[in-house]
Amino acid sequence: MDAILIQILNGLDKGGAYALIALGLTLAFGTLGIVNFAHGALFMLGAFGAVSVQQLLTISKRVKDESITFFDAYKEIPYLEIWWGDTGRMIIDYAVPISILFVIPFMLLIGVLMERGLIKHFYKRTHADQILVTFGLAIVLQELVKAYFGANPIPTPAPAVVSGSAPVGAFFGLGEDLVYPWWRLIYLLASGLIIFAVFAFLKFTTFGMVVRAGMADRETVGLLGINVQRRFTIVFGLAAVVAGVAGALYAPILPPDYHMGMDFLVLSFVVVVVGGMGSLEGAVAAGFLLGILQSFASMNEVKSIIPGIDQIIIYLVAVVILLVRPRGLMGREGVMED
């Protein structure tokens, strides 16, 4: 029972990341009809947003270490700590949550620039061309990050308060020794919140209503004198923000490196396809579903029956779904069903 609970939590966690990226992919596809292979790179950029905020906050001064007397020793003290003492130390500790504040406007800017600068010219081109040009962009982005931050993963710790483990066992009355990292719980909560926010935004605001109408029938909405294009551009920026925030929050779980985006992208595409192209609910549901499936498949009990299943379960599910139910779990009938 304990093991199952832990696996479900693990799965939801990973599923949260898949769902957030898949949500952004679906937004871009549903509105602009763009298949964006650079979306994983946006996730990675978000994670490196957290890294750079952390590095900015810890810019240090080299001072003499007075505690060592028999030779000259130096140590690095961050300026923030020198200026503000404990308050400065606390700010550094909270680098990852603080970075969210910077990641949001930054990713919005990147998203809008990308749409206006590149994607705009590819509406009329084939999906293959879209895949190719965004694939090229993804290579460029990840190589730029590699050139600046290096090829090694950069550890980006979560705040000390939540670095320990939460006694989840006690929450559910299952015994004290069942624990789960706090930050992962927070991540799970945050991804739920973001997904909820995106849906609420689309469902309950006028802007969201126009976007949904545009997704259903772009021409008619345009005939009503509404500038659909501008709204879709903003939605693309929003998709970039979702990916970026997901990446920044994921940094403490998986130290960011330059190819993390590609790793997640391939899986997220599979998630989108399983959920059904263009279906937002499908993307989220499939994200969590595949996350949980994957974590169950990596249990030792399962692996001993079917060796290697943990490596391929997601792809296997995708293949089966694509072959027996072409439009995915929740895809609308007739959308990309050929």
Binding site: H127, L132, V133, L137, V140, E143, A318
Partner: protein, 374 residues
């Protein structure tokens, strides 16, 4: 005597390929390692082009066939003989069977779904090669030769390895250096002949027709699936052949050859050169492999030396600006180049060439007319 004649084309092509060590010497690309790479990736790309260039089906899973070809070839070296002929034949056939299986499933869908399906299959093969199939693939270490391998055919012929690892050979001729290149080159010529035949046949025309309008083909009562499947299998076999040649020139096989980035590489080469054209993919391979070789060897001091003729300040500035694009950053240059090609020249280098030649012809033609008028 025109390029319409297959024989002329083949003679010309063979002459160019076989004399490559000679005419590539001035640009410093005539050493065997690079030449072998040209030929091997050339085969990979022209094979991929049969599928993508003719039918428009974008596969992101061709690296899987490359990997299968490599593994099969190394196993043939381990179990049968160090002679390369069985290795190449087996590698091609086994990956053909593999391609038949994957193609039969993937071709039920088209467009982006086809891309995702092939990607999924390739990633599955890659993950399995790393984990469960370790007895066959030797996991992370990669499959290698050892002196204790049985090599049944060699043993029957009385060839017993004496010291160190045996080398791959063609009836006694070692397959390294220039002889390795010539072996790959001959296979490249044969492969090119096959593609030429396909391009200039009713079969090739039907594949092109599928690309331009599948729906119409279907409505005229034409079953597209056997054509697509056969094209998929042929291009898979080309990939397998390329993979086995990789093992011939360097007898080890690793799972990283099957990763989807490797599929991405062949897509880049084909598009860069010009998908759907006969020699476009070969041009793409040549450009990418040549510049990869040059650019990844460059470093800051080499750049500084290259800018030496400029004023010191300017040279320093240029060195700083260009250094992220060379050496480790070669992929950045490649990514940018690729984006530019997709945006401005969807037909690749071949489209560029035809645009320039049309422009020149018009200019020359106009000059001729005005000359005639005066």
């Amino acid at each position: 005597m025109s390029l319409k004649n297959n024989l002329v084309v083949m003679l010309l092509f063979s002459a160019i390929v076989l004399s490559a060590p000679w005419w590539l010497a001035p640009i410093g690309a005539n050493y065997p390692d690079l030449l072998q790479k040209f030929a091997i990736f050339g085969l990979f790309a022209i094979g991929f082009n049969i599928l993508f260039g003719l039918t428009g089906y974008l596969s992101f899973g061709h690296a899987a066939f490359l990997g299968v070809g490599s593994y099969t070839a190394v196993w043939s070296f381990k179990l049968l003989t160090m002679n390369v002929i069985p290795a190449v034949i087996l590698g091609t056939l086994v990956s053909g069977v593999f391609a038949l299986l994957i193609g039969w499933l993937s071709l039920r869908r088209s467009g982006i779904y086809f891309s995702i399906l092939t990607l999924a299959f390739a990633q599955m093969s890659y993950s399995l090669a790393y984990s469960v199939l370790t007895p066959i693939t030797n996991g992370e270490t990669g499959l290698q030769l050892s002196q204790q391998d049985p090599r049944v055919l060699d043993a029957m012929a009385g060839i017993v390895p004496t010291e160190g690892l045996p080398t791959t050979n063609l009836f006694g001729m070692p397959m390294s250096g220039y002889s390795g290149f010539y072996f790959c080159a001959v296979l490249l010529i044969i492969g090119f002949w096959v593609t030429l035949k396909i391009f200039r046949s009713p079969y090739g025309l039907k594949l092109t027709a599928i690309k331009s309008n599948t729906m119409r083909m279907k409505y005229t009562g034409f079953n597209t699936r056997p054509y697509l499947l056969s094209a998929f299998v042929i291009s898979g076999m080309f990939a397998g052949l390329a993979g086995s040649l990789m093992a011939v020139t360097d007898p080890l096989a690793g799972a990283e050859r099957m990763q989807w980035t490797a599929s991405g590489e062949v897509v880049l080469m084909t598009i860069l050169g010009g998908a759907g054209t006969l020699i476009g993919p070969l041009l793409g391979v040549g450009i990418i492999k040549y510049f990869e070789n040059i650019f990844s060897a460059l470093n800051d001091s080499a750049l500084r030396a290259a800018y030496d003729f400029l004023p010191a300040g300017l040279a320093d500035f240029l060195t700083t600006v260009t250094s992220p694009f060379v050496g480790e950053g070669w992929h950045l240059t490649l990514g940018l180049l690729f984006m530019l090609v997709v945006i401005f020249l969807p037909g690749g280098v071949m489209q560029g060439i035809s645009l320039i030649s049309r422009f020149l012809r018009r200019r020359l033609g106009m000059a001729g007319e005005s000359g005639g008028a005066s």
